[in-house]
């Protein structure tokens, strides 16, 4: 079931009604039932995947937890000396690690097979030609269960946390299943941590009018971003980015900005719907975006963009890899060879490239995405190398910290992010060719040369877009000084009603949903 559909709205309304009708202690069970129903809406067979992940992870985590309590009891009973204790603990840790690795291999294995088999086959074909006589390569063409990348990551985070002893494993399978399948977030995140979500999910929630209203407002705002902005420019952006031979020059810039805007409005709008929906149930979810285009450099932007995913990678890939025995050994070697700087930076940079490789391939099973990820990683390493230079610059020109310079930094960072996104939609060579075309032949007058008309954006669309962008910008600026909704709630009834109503009416009329109106279809043209 798509979050943007009549079905979802109806589903949400019924679920919310029931949720506040059943006694508090049954609320989480209702959520579980509703979540399973929601997922089964896309085909009951697909339920098997998240259920397999839930059951296997639940079981393995319990076993890990048992190792912990067994070892604790053993130590208390036998009071081993320090050496013995250390050896015993190492032994237990090894056993726990085996369980964790089993879970990770199984679940990332399912994800890898489903998501990357075709990618693998395509590449294998380049090495050893597998193609049949008609030139086609056999493709598995498996359908991905909805949200598998998200719930797998969330669940594996849990398993690793339990292994690390961060919190105790969940005993109740059904409660754990709710953690995996909680319907607002299951299909597109945010990726939650068990210890935080647990507090929210299994509490009893009395109806809170303010929270509910705030949730609805947020859903509305999400629909605005998604339907009025993102879906409005999506076809034009797709056209520009998929035909570089037609759309060169200034259109490269237009496509670049459009792609970033669409991505942001679509994804952050979707998150608003998800988090708002959850808020209506009284359940707080972690934020996934924090005004990313207010960032002054790329790594800050990435800390504010898809935050739960980057957080996941930092915690479960970047830190473990960079502090791994392998990295330390290599760094040591470099240090001994007298390469002090290299020794310092080797672990970080290795881990960084691995994280960005995985981030890339997480976003899409294609080399484009891998290159895009690596490009981000490389830019961040380069800017780390220049960090000393920047510091020097600012020490010499302390005044270069004003708002103008700040604005410059923000624009520069946003542009850099957008340029890097070109790797997602152009092939590697095309990226540079198109950048070249923009710089050497880009002229504003090209916007009037007829190619723009082909994009299907009418004057009214542009006006709506302009107004929508101004509104998004205004809200973003307001957010910097605190919750917009809280401040709206403090305004007089007429004012806040009118504001929300206008937003609703704007979505209703100017949103891009439904089949659209094509007057020619209404001409009697049977023959």
């Amino acid at each position: 079931m798509s979050l943007v559909s009549y079905e979802f709205l109806a589903f949400f309304a019924i679920a919310a009604l029931l949720y506040y009708l059943v006694p508090g202690r049954f609320q989480w069970m209702l959520l579980l039932a509703v979540s399973i129903l929601f997922y089964a809406g896309g085909g009951a067979v697909y339920l098997l995947y998240p259920l397999a992940t839930a059951v296997s992870t639940w079981f393995l985590a319990l076993r890990i937890g048992k190792e912990d309590s067994v070892s604790k009891a053993y130590i208390q009973e036998h009071k081993p000396d320090k050496e013995q204790k250390k050896a015993y603990q190492a032994h237990i840790r090894k056993r726990k690690k085996r369980l964790m690795i089993a879970g990770i291999l199984l679940n990332f294995g399912i994800l890898a097979v489903l998501k990357y088999t075709d990618f693998f086959l395509q590449n294998l074909n380049l090495l050893i030609p597998l193609a049949g006589e008609d030139g086609s390569v056999w493709q598995a063409g498996w359908l991905l269960p909805l949200g598998i990348s998200y719930y797998t990551f969330q669940t594996m985070g849990y398993l690793i946390d339990v292994f690390r002893g961060r919190y105790k494993p969940e005993k109740n399978l059904f409660r754990f299943m709710l953690f995996v399948t909680y319907f607002p977030q299951m299909t597109s995140g945010p990726i939650s941590r068990f210890d935080l979500l647990r507090e929210e999910l299994f509490r009893e929630h009395a109806f809170d009018g303010t929270q509910f209203t705030f949730g609805l407002w947020r859903i509305l705002w999400g629909f605005f971003k998604k339907l009025v902005i993102a879906d409005r420019i999506a076809p034009a952006v797709a056209m520009i980015t998929s035909s570089p031979e037609t759309y060169d020059g200034i259109y490269v810039l237009l496509g670049m900005l459009g792609y970033t805007l669409r991505l942001y409005a679509d994804f952050s709008g979707c998150m608003d719907i998800v988090i708002g929906t959850s808020q209506c149930f009284g359940i707080r979810l972690p934020e996934n975006f924090q005004r990313p285009f207010g960032a002054k450099n790329l790594s800050e932007l990435w800390r504010r963009w898809h935050m739960t995913l980057t957080g996941w990678f930092r915690e479960y890939v970047f830190f473990p890899v960079s502090t791994s025995r392998f990295c330390r050994a290599v760094s040591h070697l470099a240090g001994k060879a007298g390469l002090k700087t290299l020794s310092k930076k080797l672990p970080v940079y290795t881990a960084n490239l691995i994280v960005w490789f995985v981030t890339g391939i997480w976003h899409g099973a294609a080399w484009n995405f891998v290159l895009w990820g690596l490009a981000n990683g490389i830019v961040m390493m380069v800017s780390q190398e220049f960090a000393e230079l920047y510091r020097g610059f600012h020490r010499r020109f302390p005044k270069a910290d004003g708002s103008v310079y700040g604005a410059f930094q923000k624009v520069r960072t946003g542009l850099l992010f957008s340029v890097l996104l070109m790797f997602q939609y152009y092939s590697f060579g095309t990226v540079f060719a198109m950048l070249g075309s923009l710089i050497t032949t880009g002229r504003l007058s090209q916007l009037y040369d007829g190619r723009f008309a082909e994009l299907g954006l009418a004057g009214a669309d542009l006006a709506v877009l302009a107004a929508g962008l101004i509104l998004m910008l205004a809200v973003s600026v307001l957010q910097e000084s605190g919750s917009v909704r809280k401040r709206l709630a403090e305004r007089p009834l007429v004012l806040r009603y009118t504001a929300v109503f206008l937003l609703f009416a704007a979505i209703l009329v100017t949103g891009c949903y439904g089949r659209g109106y094509d007057a020619s279809r209404f001409i009697y043209n049977q023959f």
Binding site: R164, S299, F318, F319, T323
Partner: protein, 76 residues
């Protein structure tokens, strides 16, 4: 303590390590710098910092870092 301050100033000389208690939360230390810090702590103090110990609470202040180092040294 002085050793630690030296490492910190080498990594990022701009922060006020004596007083600031939100080094990670305020993003004064980025994750890059955090890892470099951990690598050097391991070398200088002869401890191994496990990745699960890299959490904001352990690195928000110099005091917290010292506590962590001492704890790890005891375990060794």
């Amino acid at each position: 303590m002085d050793e630690l301050l030296e490492i910190l100033n080498d990594i990022n000389p701009d922060a006020d390590y004596e007083t600031n208690e939100h080094l990670v939360d305020d993003e004064i230390l980025t994750s890059f710098e955090l890892v470099m810090l951990v690598t050097q702590i391991s070398d200088e103090f002869g401890v191994s910092v496990p990745s699960e110990a890299i959490i904001p609470e352990n690195f928000n202040s110099v005091r917290a870092m010292m506590d962590l180092i001492e704890r790890l040294q005891e375990d060794e």
